[in-house]
């Protein structure tokens, strides 16, 4: 049992993350990872944040939300508008915070009435919410309606994105591996039983929902500051589905799965880029196939554990 934050496990992870980051940076500087691939990497980083956030909502708490892209767009537009006015680091920070604030309010307003709904109904309601957000943004002047915003200062960079992505995964893992996470998992397993065990299900469902929404907001802000241009249709139902596919593929409830799936699908997407429509067809077929053949996704419930990996290696060494 870990007794403090300075545990062997956390030390191992820190080393791993720093090593990974250094490796990628070196590859980029040596131009082995060229500009084209760098963009893909950035997109993967953003999707990781979206995926783990959605996994907390759907995979861990069992609330089927189809409007995730709506929160991403709130974060994206808030940040974009802010950094167009103040193209500095301070502006960037402010933009992210404003996005978080607005998202928090909207997520809370949405959560309280809709999380009463179950299963399919919740899915459709959240889909409706995502669409409402998109339509509102489409018709506001400050967001420049259908033309979207352009010339957004590209304040994002790989180190910054990597940092945010890592933080998101850590926070999500901390959420999951705590009493809060356990309560949410109980709600997913059997909401009536969880309620009977003294768990305020509304409170925890809302917590998970808002948590995921806030992560999506950050992802949106990072997206806006990476890609120079944003339009309402970038954050429509198709984007929500993209993230859902990643979460389902990786395994609903497995954060490791979400990270791996984001990577895998990012790479597959890249390879299939020249075949745009074919890619979507393959995606669709693959989605159906996964659901029919392996509904628990790639990793099911499994979570990768670094200490366990070393334990196994040590034991193997002992036997020899």
């Amino acid at each position: 049992m870990n007794t403090t934050i300075f545990s062997r496990k956390n030390l191992l992870w820190t080393v791993f993350i720093v090593a990974l980051f250094t490796l990628i940076e070196v590859l980029m500087m040596a131009d082995i990872i060229g500009a084209y691939y760098k963009i893909t990497l950035m997109l993967i980083g953003i999707n990781v944040i979206l995926a783990v956030g959605l996994n907390i909502i759907i995979g861990i708490t069992g609330q089927f939300s189809l409007g995730h892209a709506g929160f991403m767009s709130v974060g994206a537009y808030s940040c974009a508008i802010t950094i167009k006015m103040f193209p500095t680091w301070w502006g960037f920070g402010l933009g992210i915070l404003i996005g978080l604030g607005i998202t928090f309010v909207i997520a809370l307003l949405v959560a309280i009435p809709t999380l009463r709904l179950k299963g399919d109904y919740l899915a459709i309601a959240t889909l409706g919410v995502g669409e409402i957000i998109r339509i509102v943004i489409l018709n506001m002047n400050i967001t420049n309606k259908a033309a979207g915003l352009s010339s957004i200062p590209m304040l994002n960079s790989f180190p910054l994105l990597f940092g945010f992505a890592t933080l998101s995964v850590i926070l999500s893992a901390n959420f999951k591996n705590s009493a809060v996470g356990r309560a949410c998992i109980g709600i997913k397993e059997d909401e009536i039983a969880a309620e009977a065990m003294g768990i305020n299900t509304t409170r925890y469902k809302t917590m998970a929902f808002v948590f995921g929404a806030l992560l999506a907001s950050v992802a949106g802000a990072l997206y806006a500051s990476t890609f120079y241009v944003i339009k309402p249709e970038s954050f429509g139902f198709a984007k929500s589905i993209d993230i859902l596919v990643i979460v389902v593929f990786g395994g609903m409830g497995s954060l490791t799965g979400s990270v791996v799936a984001t990577l895998a699908l990012g790479v597959i997407s890249l390879l299939l880029q020249p075949f745009a429509e074919l890619r979507m067809i393959i995606y669709a077929v693959a989605l159906i196939a996964v659901m029919v053949l392996r509904p628990q996704g790639l990793m099911g419930n499994y979570e990768f554990s670094l200490p366990k990996l070393f334990q196994r290696k040590k034991r193997k060494g002992d036997v020899a």
Binding site: D120, G128, I132, I135, M291, P295
Partner: protein, 292 residues
């Protein structure tokens, strides 16, 4: 007053379209508790098949309609067999995700083979319109309304007066009990998909003719709105889908006419959320609580 009546006429034809699509949603949900996300795309496929029937096989309107309905009926049954039947005992989320997959598959396959751009639907129905008491009524609107009503009446006859209709109702209530009574549940479910898809196809062609254009993504918005209509009237209840369809159609045209057409879609979604919160079982539905 005149504006109101004009909007009413427009609303009725739009409503008939939504009703036809909503019927498919409601019947499928009633029988296997699945929100068939791909249903809106069946409407699109119906329009495209009709398009091909007319341009390639040079069929006149009604044969093209029948041809498309038949094609989509079969397609619906095939999809059910391949994608939905294996998931009959899986979680609802799994089934919903599969339906989303099917939806994407239909959309992008159409894009691949027919092109992503908007296509002009040949004008096979007369464009004639009359002005009665200052109100403009289009021949096509009459065809849409009449066809929808006839199809809905046919559906009611099938559901209420035939053996297969009785089987459909039985399986909706309790599939296992129906099986024990000798009902072929698989065939009944296939049949339900066939009818639902045929109705959606009809809606698709009618819309193609009326608006003169079709595109691979035309099913998304009407699909979602028809779903709202089905929920509004009471999901799983056939008369509910008809009532809901007309209600949503009229709401949309009224909002469009009197308020702003920009927000007409948003209003429909808001309506959806309101119904789900206030009376999720819909206008004609009954409340069902989970037994603890």
């Amino acid at each position: 007053m005149q504006q109101f009546l004009q909007q009413l006429i427009n609303g009725l034809s739009l409503g008939s379209i939504y009703a036809l699509i909503a019927l498919g949603y409601t019947m499928v949900y009633g029988i296997i508790k699945l929100i068939n996300f791909a249903h809106g795309d069946m409407y699109m496929i119906g329009a495209y098949i009709g398009y091909m029937g007319i341009t390639v096989f040079h069929l006149p309107f009604f044969p093209a309609l029948i041809f498309s309905m038949a094609f989509c009926a079969v397609l619906g049954m095939v999809i059910e067999r391949i994608a939905y039947k294996p998931l009959r005992n899986a979680t609802r989320i799994a089934a919903l995700i599969t339906a989303i997959g099917v939806s994407f598959f239909l959309e992008y396959t159409t894009m691949r083979f027919m092109g992503a751009e908007v296509k002009t639907f040949p004008a096979v129905l007369s464009d004639k319109s009359w002005i009665i008491y200052g109100l403009r009524i289009n021949f096509q609107q009459i065809v849409i309304f009449a066809t929808s009503i006839i199809l809905m009446i046919l559906l009611q006859i099938i559901v209420r007066r035939t053996k297969i209709g009785r089987a459909m109702r039985a399986v909706s209530v309790d599939a296992d009990a129906a099986k024990l009574m000798g009902v072929d549940v698989n065939a009944t479910i296939s049949f339900t998909f066939a009818i639902g898809s045929a109705l959606a196809a009809a809606a698709g062609i009618l819309v193609g003719v009326y608006y003169n254009s079709i595109n691979p993504l035309m099913g998304m918005a009407p699909g979602l709105k028809a779903f709202v209509a089905a929920v509004f009237g009471g999901i799983g209840i056939i008369p509910g889908a008809m009532v809901g369809g007309f209600a949503i159609g009229l709401t949309e045209t009224m909002v469009s006419g009197y308020a702003s057409s920009l927000y007409k879609d948003a209003v429909v979604y808001v309506l959806l959320i309101l119904i789900l919160l206030l009376k999720p079982s819909g206008l004609l539905g009954k409340n069902k609580k989970e037994k603890v």
